[in-house]
């Protein structure tokens, strides 16, 4: 992991993202693991760690290893053992036009969901930070949706986009858009993106708002004296100070769009994935549990694991450098 010394955990502009960065930075390469004084006991630390390690081993490492292992095998459909097939599960997956189409949709979906939920969350946070009266009320009203489960959000979406009673379908109908969610590919995709963005706005709002409130008054006043244009002030002073928060949220939102939207998609495509847009995670689920294609599903799981690893490393090595911390 990178070690940018400029990021001090006590930096006032970093009330939110600090914990996250520290988590990655203070990896064990720091020899002073924690305290000056520590207990030393031959068995106690292992005893305390035992429950966590046991659960991680049984429910994290064992399945992960199994996924990698079975991605190299072809399972007999009737359950009579399996044959080693080398990389062919992977080549089959990567050659399939269906899979590549889903991968393309996933990329577009992730980019749009991340962009819009960050942009709207930031806009609302800046506005809520700027006003004095009613700040707390707005805050309370704007964070409700965080507590709603993705499939319940999907259900709300189905209601808003219902063919007979959905107000949003009627609304876009005014502009001549005959929206058929669940039947038309693009319409379903649009509805899925809108619901996913809606569900994620409160999270970004909370983080941006507490990031904004962590900016010292002295900095704001200095900026106010130097520059009259509110927009330019935001662009040149406030936004750079928010960059660590935004960077942290970028990772979280990408993960959200890739994985946590499963519930929304599952409810909105109603098991009829054939003509509907789905993401890569949903495809893993469909092939594994509906198609009983153990090897193919495992190979897809491993591909997803690699994507997550690469994303994490990429974001830390390349994006973090361009972020101003002080």
């Amino acid at each position: 992991m990178t070690h940018a010394p400029s990021l001090s955990p006590t930096s006032p502009a970093l009330p939110t993202a600090g914990g996250f960065f520290r988590r990655f930075r203070s990896t064990p390469s720091e020899p002073d693991f924690a305290k000056r004084v520590q207990f030393s006991s031959p068995y106690l630390p292992y005893l305390f760690l035992a429950p966590q390690m046991a659960i991680i081993f049984i429910f994290f490492y064992w399945p992960s290893v199994q996924a990698i292992q079975s991605s190299f095998y072809l399972e007999d459909p009737f359950g009579f053992g399996s044959t080693f097939v080398g990389m062919s599960n992977y080549t089959d997956v990567l050659k399939s036009t269906e899979y590549l189409g889903i991968a393309r949709f996933t990329a577009v979906f992730t980019a749009l969901v991340t962009f819009f939920s960050l942009a709207i969350g930031l806009l609302l946070a800046v506005k809520a930070d700027g006003i004095i009266r009613g700040n707390a009320t707005y805050k309370t009203l704007l964070i409700w949706v965080y507590a709603i489960a993705p499939p319940v959000a999907g259900l709300m979406g189905m209601m808003m986009f219902d063919q007979h009673i959905g107000p949003l379908v009627k609304f876009v109908g005014l502009f001549g858009w005959d929206m058929k969610v669940g039947l038309n590919y693009t319409d379903t995709a649009a509805a899925m993106i809108i619901v996913s963005v809606w569900k994620q706005i409160p999270y970004n709002f909370i983080f941006f708002l507490s990031g904004l409130q962590g900016i010292p008054v002295s900095v704001r006043e200095a900026a106010l004296m130097d520059c009259r244009s509110g927009f330019r002030r935001f662009w040149t002073v406030i936004l750079p100070l928010l960059a660590p928060t935004a960077f942290f949220l970028l990772i979280i939102n990408t993960t959200y769009a890739l994985f946590d939207t499963f519930g929304i998609i599952d409810v909105m495509v109603k098991d009829k994935a054939a003509n509907n847009p789905i993401t890569l995670v949903y495809k893993v689920y469909m092939d594994g549990f509906r198609g009983n294609d153990l090897g193919g599903s495992s190979a897809q799981s491993v591909i997803l694991m690699i994507i997550v690893f690469v994303l994490t490393i990429f974001q830390f090595r390349f994006i973090e450098r361009r972020v101003h911390y002080t």
Partner: protein, 280 residues
């Protein structure tokens, strides 16, 4: 800076409208009759059937086996939410305590093994996880529902971070007084962590209550269904019949979101603290 900014309020009100509007509509519509909704569409005004719809949803025995009621699903959701939150706090406090307050040989490698779990969400290893659960005979049990979800280390990192911020002098003083590791943990660490535990509890309860994919895989026996897990069944009823039971679907959706929404609203300050300081 003191003047009221009309434009800012307009944007915020639009935000509130978008975020809260659908919830109000769902709540109000659930108090109308199904036929009424079918004819007149969604509603922003309360209807007269609030009590009977919700009584019916909570007590009517539905599902394919006819055993499961809304009340039962709610109880399962509570078990999952509370069990997950308590388990997470217990496990991660112990592990973080060992990592911060002890010097031992395999600390580095154990830390890395815990750290790695943050990188791979449950969703990418669902099929093998499911097979492990079948091998252990844990499908359709509360253990199988809760324990595998604990296999991510978010809580451990949070408590580790917090323990590191506790002044070293406390440990020095405690050692001079002759306190051992257990006594220091119970007598100093746990009382100091109360606020943090509350904050983490809220986050984790909401997270546990809202689980969908894992309960969907783990429970085929309807008596273990949670409210969120039952959403799919709600939809099947919805699409199936002539005049769909919109009102019951909305009532169940409201029930499924009510406890986490209430907790987030009531304990808003702790919730935001837990969220922004723990990152999950």
């Amino acid at each position: 800076m003191q003047r009221v900014k009309i434009f800012d309020h307009v944007i915020l009100l639009m935000g509130v409208f978008i975020m809260v509007g659908p919830l109000v509509v769902a709540l109000m519509t659930s108090s109308h009759e199904a036929a009424d909704i079918h004819r007149n569409g969604l509603s922003i005004l309360p209807g007269g059937h609030f009590v009977d719809t919700y009584t019916k949803v909570l007590t009517k025995e539905g599902g394919f086996t006819g055993k499961i009621t809304g009340l039962r699903m709610m109880m399962n959701s509570l078990i999952l939410g509370i069990g997950f939150a308590v388990g997470k706090i217990a496990l991660s406090m112990l592990a973080a305590y060992a990592l911060v307050y002890f010097r031992f040989r395999f600390a580095t490698i154990l830390f890395w093994m815990i750290f790695t779990t943050l990188l791979l969400p449950l969703e990418v290893r669902i099929l093998p996880s499911y097979e492990v659960m079948t091998a252990l005979n844990l499908t359709n049990t509360y253990t199988g529902l809760i324990v595998p979800l604990l296999a991510s280390a978010t809580g451990t990192f949070y408590f580790r971070q917090f323990f590191k911020s506790i002044p070293d002098e406390l440990l020095e003083a405690a050692r001079i007084d002759g306190a051992g590791p257990f006594k220091f943990f119970i007598g100093v660490i746990v009382p100091l962590s109360k606020t943090m535990m509350a904050a983490i509890f809220i986050i984790m309860f909401v997270y546990g209550w809202n689980q969908y994919l894992w309960p969907t895989l783990m429970t085929t026996d309807e008596s273990f269904f949670t409210l969120v897990r039952g959403i799919k069944q709600i939809l099947l009823v919805w699409v199936g019949s002539n005049i769909p039971d919109y009102n019951e679907a909305f009532a169940l959706a409201i029930l499924a979101m009510l406890p986490p929404v209430m907790i987030v609203m009531i304990f808003q300050r702790w919730f935001i603290k837990g969220l922004t300081e723990s990152d999950k």
